[in-house]
């Protein structure tokens, strides 16, 4: 099957680079699948897992926190503020962040930023899911 190049870039450097057959990601308008030969496109992404399938076998999973996806005829680039492959996730930190966000959300105080806590919780859950190989 035809493949194309995918690179995931973050401000801290490239996070992933490989030739794959299909990319699927969670865009803000819904689930999005890209195959080779797609027209050039730009779409913002949600916090979620990006799946990169390389034929048979399990797809690679990358946890993405905010950013967007750029499709070109021969290449797909994902620009994310943070991205981690399953083996690079600090699971202890993610679990800690999840607990912290949950306790912030359950404490119904006025002076906390609910939106931020919710986002933090989303990111933490996303990392844990990717680490455990769910999200597929």
């Amino acid at each position: 099957m035809k493949t194309f190049k995918v690179s995931i870039v973050t401000p801290d450097g490239p996070a992933y680079e490989s030739d794959v057959e299909m990319v699927s990601a969670k865009a803000q308008s819904g689930e999005l699948g890209i195959l080779p030969g797609h027209i050039p496109m730009v779409a913002p992404l949600q916090v979620g897992a990006v799946r990169l399938s390389k034929g048979a076998g399990k797809p690679d999973l990358v946890a993405i926190s905010g950013g967007f996806l750029e499709v070109r005829p021969d290449q797909v680039t994902i620009l994310a503020q943070a991205a981690e492959t399953a083996e690079n996730i600090d699971i202890a930190r993610a679990k800690e962040a999840k607990l912290r966000a949950e306790s912030l959300l359950s404490n119904k105080q006025d002076n906390i930023d609910f939106k931020r806590a919710e986002l933090a919780l989303k990111r933490a859950i996303n990392r844990i899911d990717v680490y455990e190989g769910k999200g597929q």
Binding site: V9, T10, P11, D12, G13, P14, A27, Q28, S29, L32, I39, P40, M41, V42, A43, P44, G66, G67, F68, E70, R72, T77, L79, Q81, A82
Partner: protein, 285 residues
Amino acid sequence: MASLRDIKTRITSTKKTSQITKAMEMVSASKLNRAETNAKAFVPYMEKIQEVVASIALGSKDVTHPMLVSRPVKKTGYLVITSDRGLAGAYNSSILRLVHNKIKERHTSKDEYVIIAIGRMGRDYFLNRGMNVALDIAGLPDQPSFSDIKDIATKAVNFFAEGMYDELYMYYNHFVSAIQQDVTEKKVLPLTDIASSSKLTSYEFEPAPEEIMEVLLPQYAESLIYGALLDGKASEHAARMSAMRSATDNAKELIDSLTLQYNRARQAAITQEITEIVGGVAALE
């Protein structure tokens, strides 16, 4: 003339100082290496985001976004990147002097500007002078990651979106080489000078260009700030390295001249002793 013991003490203490400055120079050299690597790792991200922003902003003329439009300036934001610690030569003072002069030149009252300080030296400088510091962050690591700066960058961009200020300038030391760093002023917001690359691609937008701008432009502005911070950190280490190198050199020079003085004084003492003995013997005969 100083006694032999005094000179000896000064030589030892200068030697100790030069050992410390020498160590600091080497520490800064290795930090500079890492900072340069970080700045390089950031380049692909910056290039890519610039390319996409340019092709969207220039490719579809009918799309506008508050961040792209200049509005009448009632209040100006100044984002100043300095270091947390001193001993870095003119690194901090040259930035602070420039910002201070610009503010004095452009504004007459405190309500017309607001300062965002990254780094302890800048914060303390402006607070001590009673200037309007809205946000500050200190204690950033030597190799900052994007998450360290994200909070303050997002806030700085939001202040613009909320209309707290109508333009945002950024001041930092641009890293040219290990011996040269240039104080740089850069306009971050509104995004009026988007560099257009030669190869513009026309994209399909999913869902709509406006909504993509909504995500893309803040992210772009934040990464501009992060890029400046990385650049500033590299300059900081370079400035500290050369400051420490010249301190070590000066200490060496001082030790040399003190050693000369010491030897002269010692020789003078010996000569005097001999003269005294000879004089004593002559008196006996």
